[in-house]
Amino acid sequence: MNNFNTPAPHYETGSVKDYFSGLYKGITTTAKGMWITFKYVWAVKPVSIEYPEVREVLPERSRMRLFNDVLNCISCTQCAMACPVDCIYIASEKLPEGAEIKKTSNGQPIRLKLTQFVIDEALCCYCGLCTTVCPTECLTHTHDYEFSQYTIDGMKYDYLAPDVIAWRDRIVK
């Protein structure tokens, strides 16, 4: 049949009885499947969540956008080292001699002045390794996932900027 020695597809040609039994089986099994789906008209509560109006409550540990409460940050750079993707950029400098040592919420002294804390959310892989090594628990995952942007630079969050600090009262309990 073909001159490229491709093996011909094997199809066994059944008898007339096979034809009709196949026809019967085809109709009954498909009808049974359709009946299962038809039962969903009255038997099952609708599954879909109308997202913009109905928002699902995220579980407590859900890892969405990161937030760093810079007042409690002692700039120990543990998170920058633990990050597998290197998307956390921290810079700190010595406090001037006489300056008084402020304390974080859980009592650790802040000896370094944090000058830059930037997380590039476009690179971040949301794995949560940084939040586990943070000694003062200031770097946490929040629950907001609605921050798609038109430009790529919109995703580099500078946590020292006043508008980002303003999120603090919404997030930090």
Partner: protein, 391 residues
């Protein structure tokens, strides 16, 4: 009188001399990187001889994300998110394999509750992965509703995982020395509730798809891979079990605490068609879902309170040496060959033996003589995930 239609014996069809010399040739089709039936970016160059596949050449590498190069530059804990992204449908099993390799070299003793929870979570992930395989396989063959059913139940599993680990698909939940955090009793009850629902659901899928005459016609006796083929190409998992060889690492080379559980290994017995064809591979996955439910139930009974994380040094440094650890993943037998140098913070070399990589290499042997639609069915039946094939 002679009727107009009576022209006597019609002469045989004559072949025009000119068409005698016409040479037909093979047509190359690209089941290209973007194709609804290739479950991702796999390109198969099909040489077709009028709708019958003459031979097929898979081209891989469209999702080669250089994971092995990354694992040489990350410290041991930071490699876990990259191991997640290998087989993103069974991320927990991938993590478990890597974490078991590191723990074997490190020699840490994982607490019993963590070991039991690892088995439970891995089996839940196996159900989720098989649901995905069931949904997309029915989608390949044209049935859209099973895809919605499967994803409805997959969402329930993802919700459970999100409450425990925090992410829906790529968890970073298995840590070196145990688990990141523990399951509360309320979550464990929901797992038990899910198991009961899933049992009815599996019966429903059986009626909806497995016994459907059209599905059986499309998959029985199609893409037959015998046991000898599987040994030649090193195929494992549902492909080998579908061919009728009872090989499952959870039973044959027990790791973790699998020896304390009793469950049996479904193999392709050839109810419909021949063992080793697409239908048997599919039905082995469906039966494995029921077995996994059994394991999860036994796991829930055996759980007793305790710590979930063992004592692990802050910076992990492995002794010099290499280890090869194999676990049974939903797609087959995953193996990780970890080579470590003395006093180095990152693995020296991590080679991932991916089951789907070997299954794709079987396609050129299955393809010749199949119609293109059957070839789509056999590609779908071996359930490829491209993140793991291309690493």
């Amino acid at each position: 009188m002679q009727s107009r239609w009576d022209i006597g014996e019609p002469e045989p069809r004559t072949i025009n001399k000119a068409t005698e010399q016409l040479k037909s040739e093979l047509l190359t089709l690209n089941m290209g990187p973007q194709h609804p039936a290739t479950h991702g970016v796999l390109r198969i160059e099909i040489w077709t001889d009028s709708e019958v596949v003459a031979h097929a050449i898979p081209h891989l590498g469209y999702l080669h994300r250089c994971m092995e190069k990354h694992s040489e530059n990350m410290d041991y804990r930071a490699v876990i998110p990259f191991v997640d992204r290998l087989d993103y449908l069974a991320a927990m099993n991938m993590e478990w394999n890597y974490v078991m390799a590191v723990e074997k070299m490190l020699g840490t003793e994982v607490p019993r509750r963590a070991e039991l929870l690892r088995i439970m979570v891995a089996e839940l992930q196996r159900i989720g992965s098989h649901l995905m395989a069931f949904g997309t396989y029915a989608l390949d063959l044209g049935a859209f509703t099973p895809f919605l059913y499967a994803f409805d139940y997959r969402e329930k599993i993802l919700r459970l995982f999100e409450e425990v680990s925090g992410a829906r698909l790529l968890y970073n939940y298995y840590w070196i020395g145990g688990l990141w955090n523990d399951w509360t009793d309320d979550q464990l009850d929901r797992v038990a509730h899910f198991c009961d629902e899933m049992e009815e659901e599996a019966k429903k899928y059986h009626e909806l798809v497995s016994m459907n005459k059209i599905f059986v016609e499309r998959t029985a006796n199609v893409g037959v891979m015998s046991v000898q083929d599987c040994f030649d190409f090193g195929a494992t998992g549902p492909v080998l079990r579908g061919a009728g060889f009872k090989w499952d690492l959870r039973k044959n080379k027990t790791y973790g605490l699998y020896n304390e559980f009793d469950f049996d290994i479904p193999i392709g017995t050839g109810e419909q068609g021949v063992p080793g064809d697409c239908w048997n591979r599919y039905i082995v996955r469906m039966k494995e879902v029921v077995e996994s439910i059994k394991i999860i139930r036994q796991c829930l009974e055996k759980l007793e309170p305790g710590s979930v994380m063992a004592k692990v040094p802050k910076i992990i440094k492995l002794p010099k040496g290499e280890v090869y650890v194999r676990t049974e993943c939903p797609r087959g037998e995953l193996g990780m060959h970890l080579v470590a140098q003395e006093g180095e913070k990152s693995p020296y070399r991590l080679k991932v033996k991916s089951p789907c990589f070997t299954h794709v290499s079987m396609l050129p042997r299955v393809a010749p003589g199949q119609m293109i639609a059957d070839f789509v069915a056999s590609v779908g039946s071996i359930d490829i995930v491209l993140g793991e094939v291309d690493r």
